[in-house]
């Protein structure tokens, strides 16, 4: 019996995967546990192992193709075995192989009024027209072309009210005069854009551009951050922190660290530690708004996510129990996570479960900025650069080292005073860093 290899769910948030690279050829013998391909998910590029012995009979999708979880990737079996049954089984689903099907469907559509787009489930994952049974029937009865409608239901499902809205507009006169099919062709077909276009230069009137395939990571960033920014009522609190003590403290610390063969501590590590200790004292900042559950969660553990820029995106690996870790350990873990993030080696457990996040653009000379909250966190701290500026101390202008941080707060959980008190605690630790060791 030939065996289907399906797209596995490799992370909690993954919805589809892109086949990044094939590592085995068709016709090659495979043993259970072999890595046959690499798959790019929304978070990382991961190895695709198979669980059976056999010959790789067919690579169903090409490099760069996306399939949803459960979609067909490859077929294993005995040499020469018939695989048409498996291919047929998956044909209707998300993973139909030939992108060529799409234009054909567009040409056929005007002929058979409303049902045509549905009958031809075209190439890429989401091009099937999703409509409720009632919406389909209404559309068929009234000659409304479903392919031209935007669905207002979940995942773009076209529901009764969408068809009714379309009927109320364009097709009302059609019922009176001409038979239904006449209504269809005219407004119908603006060809759907090919989302999965390859990165090739395109010429349009007025200029050229490169069309870059939207990666899984960019899709996830887009979805999560848009959701956060548009649903969490953000407000921002900025504090200017005197870092002169911290600079001296770090100097001393790193002398000792170096002498003892320990990881050197960065300013970012000091901020992580200060935040972690502050979160312990301010449980409402270490919290999550859980809309579906109807509750606010005050987390018992302090897990700080740190935004790490990587090629074509960013990830947020998590330092677990950051409040209970020493500075040198924090430093070593942060270094290791960032390194693995850049090499795309993070595993789901490395980026899940944060209760708070930080983002640091100080190394780019950014004085201050605001960050978008990383859901389901209630807050994120945006860290700017340490600036040499004149400050007034005891009535005298002296050289100072100042750092601006901006806390983005989800007002559903954190009020102004709550956020301000947390920032005051963080500032207290950074301005007198020895207190972090107490």
């Amino acid at each position: 019996m030939a065996i289907a290899v399906e797209m596995p769910k490799m992370s909690d948030t993954m919805e589809e995967g892109v086949l990044a690279a094939w590592l085995k050829e068709e016709g090659q013998p495979i043993a259970a546990g072999d890595v046959v391909a690499q798959v790019e998910t929304d978070k990382a590029t991961m190895d695709l192992e198979v669980y059976d012995d056999g010959v790789l009979l067919k690579r169903v999708i090409g490099e760069g193709d996306a399939v949803p979880i459960g979609g067909l990737i490859a077929i294993l079996g005995k040499e020469g075995e018939d695989i048409s049954a498996i291919l047929a089984k998956y044909q209707g689903g998300g993973a139909a192989p030939a992108p060529a099907a799409a234009p054909a469907a567009v040409e056929e559509a005007p002929a058979a009024v409303a049902e045509a787009p549905a009958a031809a489930p075209a190439a890429s994952d989401d091009s099937r027209v999703k409509a409720s049974p009632l919406a389909r029937k209404l559309a068929a009865d009234h000659g409304v072309n479903l392919a031209g409608l935007a669905g207002s239901g979940p995942e773009g499902r076209i529901v009764k009210r969408d068809v009714e809205a379309a009927m109320g507009g364009a097709s009302a006169p059609a019922a009176a005069s001409a038979p239904a099919p006449a209504a269809a062709p005219a407004p119908a077909e603006t060809p759907r854009p090919a989302v999965q276009a390859p990165a090739a230069p395109v010429t349009v009137p007025g200029g050229t551009y490169d069309a870059v395939r939207i990666s899984q990571m960019r899709k996830t960033i887009a979805r999560r951050l848009a959701e956060s920014k548009f649903t969490n009522p953000h407000f921002y609190l900025t504090a200017d922190i005197d870092m002169s003590e911290a600079v001296a403290f770090r100097g001393k610390l790193n002398e000792k660290a170096e002498a003892n063969g320990l990881a050197k501590v960065s300013f970012n590590d000091l901020v992580t530690k200060a935040c972690a200790l502050g979160l312990r004292q301010h449980p409402w900042v270490n919290a999550s708004w859980m809309e579906a559950e109807g509750e606010i969660r005050l987390h018992h553990d302090v897990h700080v996510a740190i935004a790490v820029a990587i090629e074509d995106g960013l990830v947020t690996p998590v330092i677990r129990n950051a409040d209970r870790k020493g500075l040198s350990q924090l430093a070593a873990e942060t270094r290791s996570l960032a390194e693995r993030a850049r090499n795309r080696e993070l595993q789901p457990e490395d980026w899940s479960g944060s209760t708070f996040s930080t983002s640091n653009l100080g190394m780019f000379g950014i004085d201050e900025f605001t960050a978008i909250i990383n859901p389901p966190n209630a807050c994120i701290l945006a860290i700017g650069s340490i600036r040499d500026v004149p400050v007034v101390k005891n009535g005298v202008v002296v050289p100072g080292k100042q750092m601006k941080v901006t806390l983005s707060c989800d007002h559903r959980v954190v009020d102004g005073a709550t956020g301000a008190e947390f920032l005051k605690t963080v500032r207290g630790y950074l301005e007198d860093p020895v207190t972090m060791l107490l």
């Binding site: 409720s132 009632l134 239901g153």
Partner: protein, 327 residues
Amino acid sequence: MAILQFREALRAAMTEEMLRDDRVFLMGEEVAEYNGAYKVSEGMLEQFGPKRIIDTPISENGFCGLGVGAAMSGLRPIIEFMTFNFSFVAIDQIINNAAKIRYMSGGQFSVPIVFRGANGAAGQLAATHNTSTESIYSTIPGLIVIAPSNPDDAKGLLKSAIRNDNPVIFLESEVMFGMKGEVSDEPDYLIPIGKARIAKEGTDVTIVAHSKSYHIAMRVAERLDAQGYSAEVIDPRTIRPLDIDTIVESIKKTNRCVIIDESNPYASISSEITFQIQDRAFDYLDAPIKRITAKDVPAPYAKNLIEYYMPQEEDAYRACLSVMYAK
């Protein structure tokens, strides 16, 4: 119209039928001397004497078999289970004898028997005393299953059940016995078996719910009304045969359906209703059918857990909003 408790409505139905037909008798644990574990049969021993109101030992398999034999021999027994959880020790008599003898004898015998008593969860009674049995019994061809939600239906349907020539599973509830409601005092008040009741008319979503869940449905419908939505509530009353026509007609109007059912969800009443709706009204559905059921675990004992285990009004309310694509 008299205001009666649920238990009084049941008693009125049994009393009237026993006065009308001397072949009817009541048998079960504590039904006679103790006046019924839940006082459903209070005073009936005094009125009808020990030949027709019969206390049994704790021996469900025995007295159910006795009831089936009596029914085959021309009597019309009412068998009371203290709770339907105890019917499981007599399930062979119910499923293999009561339900099948008419079929297997080619119609030579009929089994006019009513098995009645408390069904479903009733608070902190733990896993073995909290089972909803309607999906178990309604899967058996040959059984009629009735689960009324109010005293009036209880009376009218129990009288019809006693007069029916087939075995009837009549499901009541510990927590509803004290519930009061208007009950018809027509002398021959019979509600037809297999006929649903449209408890509230509406246009935007159909809520189907029987027995205790019906009361959740009515509260949800009220909340929806307050929000400007119009919910239709249907109480099937009879689980088998199911009045699917009334449900389908409603869905043709509302295009959406939420089922509240305190059975465990797997292969339950809600599964069956959902199947029948999609089979008969597919083209009228504007949203997937949703159901709110007990959780898919044995009923827990702890107070907070048994409350969580049961169908939640809030979940039902949200399910209604979601099938209307509201919010």
